[in-house]
């Protein structure tokens, strides 16, 4: 039996997918979710073979939801209109359905997925999806970061981030009183975060410029930035140069 989870905030949009799936006896819908939070929980609980995922949803969008899942499940996107997303889908050969879609088009997408599954290409398609998620920027992403700790999902507004530190395959995102781990690269955050407020000052550090109170010279001619919280962040020579330029000193 193939397990499927449907994630869409519009009940009728889920019902049509369910109706189309009804014709396939070997497929069962294990859960329907109306937002990304429930989606993450359902996917962790049921480990579905395939999910149908909308992009524009409450609180966190479809891409942000996928970011929280490792490994990412097999996805068929269902969306009404996302110019930027559609380009990304095509670039990464990830299948998507444009609403409203016909039963024929739906079956074709399902057929394609099943073939890939039989040929054990699932891993490849998951990689494609991951690459897609890594590269796609929705307008919301520069202003917030979504993190998961166990089954707790938190949305961190970017102005609450004090700095980001590299940590093996992960990054530590430091806020006022705690930090969050996220499996992403430093260059991802360098790209995504607002360039007016954030600057990569070191191979391992991205700083929120609002948090800096002082820049001090340390031993061996290098420099450190002192944050409001009292934390000291090392600056690379290039980082120090960039920082001086941005601050206009």
């Amino acid at each position: 039996m193939i397990k499927v989870v449907l994630i869409d905030d519009e009940p009728l949009a889920r019902s049509i997918v369910k109706e189309y799936l009804g014709a396939h006896e070997n497929i069962t819908v294990v859960q329907e979710c109306n937002d990304g939070f429930n989606g993450v929980k359902a996917i962790m609980q049921h480990q579905p073979d395939l999910i149908f995922l909308d992009i524009q949803m409450p609180k966190i969008n479809g891409f942000e939801m996928l970011e929280l899942l490792d490994p990412s499940p097999s996805v068929i996107f269902t969306t009404a209109f996302d110019e930027y997303a559609i380009k990304a889908f095509e670039a990464h050969a990830v299948d998507y359905l444009l609403k409203p879609f016909s039963k024929e088009r739906f079956d074709k997408a399902l057929q394609k997925w099943m073939q890939q599954r039989e040929q054990n290409k699932t891993e490849q398609t998951q990689k494609n999806t991951q690459a897609l998620v890594n590269e796609t920027r929705s307008p919301e992403e520069s202003s917030r970061i979504v993190v998961k700790n166990g089954s707790n999902i938190r949305i961190i507004p970017s102005q609450d981030i004090m700095y980001i530190e590299a940590y093996d395959d992960y990054v530590k995102i430091f806020t006022k009183d705690t930090y969050h781990l996220k499996k992403k690269t430093m260059s991802h955050f360098e790209e995504v975060l607002d360039k007016v407020d954030f600057l990569r000052v070191h191979r391992s550090y991205i700083l929120n410029l609002q948090q800096i109170t002082k820049i001090e010279a340390s031993e061996k001619g290098s420099h450190i930035a002192l944050l409001k919280s009292g934390v000291k962040i090392p600056l690379s020579r290039m980082g120090y140069g960039k920082l001086k330029e941005v601050l206009g000193v």
């Binding site: 009940p11 009728l12 109706e19 409450p58 409203p100 879609f101 507004p157």
Partner: protein, 340 residues
């Protein structure tokens, strides 16, 4: 411009020299006489040009120009006589010729100065006309752009395609409801397309259009979306620019539905306050995760712009945040009649 001006006066100096020489003056006398006369007339003419640049008489007191030309011609003639008398103070023959020719010199000066005045008036007239045409074209272009962006805003592709998707879902299981939704969507689209951006309508008409939109959204979002609409009979008769409320409400719905997880209550209340129709739209939002935005934010900038184009005021749209409620308030002046 200056070059043409100079060339024009050189030609007149040459003509006058020729005439005076033929009348019996020596060439040197003729040249000096012509040069002095024409330079002074040039200065007088230039004065009219300068004054008309800063002061354009209207049709009623056009005779000012005439009086002004006579006065300048008189001054110029007096100055010409004075200067020439000085230069040729010991040339009796010339001085008597000068005295004899004063009337004709005055007429010549007057004709030249009036001619200058008429020319400069025509130039300014043409320039004004070109400017006003450019202004009109600018205004029309702005209007067209506003209409277009308004259209784009009224029919969000997301709204349209998701609505069609809902209809597609209903068609299988509940065909009657599908048919009803097609009806509502058609009425809504028709209402959006036929309306002129500048038109004022009764609040009751605007709310009717808004209701179509709300009904469609409720089918899409099911029980999550609840709406309350408050108004009274008197308020319903007030005027509002057409299609103004729907984008505000759409914004509130989007904001409410995508920023919170539970039920979204959209409250729209309309009341009259002094000379204003006040419409208040409330939606829930999550203060802890809502992102700060620049300006009015939350997609209301184009409404702000439209209100400015209509009323030349920037204070008609405002927003407030109260705990977890976001409130958009729009004030529509009832005194100004901008109906076309």
């Amino acid at each position: 411009m200056i070059f043409t001006y100079g060339a024009w006066w050189l030609i007149w100096i040459a003509i006058q020299t020729l005439v005076l020489h033929r009348l019996g003056l020596q060439l040197s006398e003729a040249i000096i006489d012509s040069a002095v006369s024409n330079i002074l007339i040039t200065i007088a003419g230039y004065t009219t040009e300068i004054t008309s640049r800063y002061y354009t008489p209207n049709t009623k007191n056009r005779w000012y120009r005439f009086v002004w030309s006579i006065a300048l011609a008189f001054l110029a003639t007096v100055a010409i006589r004075g200067i020439l008398q000085l230069i040729f103070s010991d040339n009796e023959a010339y001085l008597s010729f000068l005295q004899l020719s004063m009337p004709i010199r005055f007429i010549f000066a007057f004709l030249m100065i009036s001619f200058m005045a008429v020319i400069s008036w025509l130039v300014h007239q043409m320039r004004d006309e070109t400017e006003s045409i450019a202004r009109k074209e600018d205004a029309q272009r702005l209007l067209r752009e506003a209409e277009l962006s308004n259209l784009r805003q009224q029919i969000q592709p997301h709204f349209l395609f998701n609505s069609l998707n809902s209809i597609s879902a209903l068609a299988g299981s509940r065909p009657e409801e599908a048919r009803k939704m097609i009806q509502q969507l058609s009425d809504f689209l028709r209402g959006t397309l036929k309306k002129d951006d500048q038109q004022m309508v009764k609040l009751s008409d605007e709310l009717q259009h808004l209701n179509l939109y709300l009904e469609i959204e409720k089918v899409r979002f099911g029980h999550r979306l609840k709406t309350v609409l408050e108004s009274d009979d008197e308020t319903l008769q007030l005027k509002i620019p057409t299609l103004l409320l729907q984008p505000i409400v759409e914004n509130a719905i989007k904001f409410g539905l995508y920023d919170t997880i539970g039920e979204t209550l959209i409250k729209i209340s309309c009341k009259k306050e002094g000379q204003f129709l006040i419409v208040q739209v409330e939606n829930p939002y999550d203060a802890s995760t809502a992102k700060p935005k620049k300006g009015m934010g939350f997609g209301l900038n184009s409404i702000q712009r439209r209100l400015y184009l209509l009323y030349h005021r920037n204070d008609l749209l405002s927003a407030q945040q109260r705990e977890n409620i976001f409130i958009t308030i729009v004030k529509i002046p009832q005194t100004l009649n901008i109906e076309h």
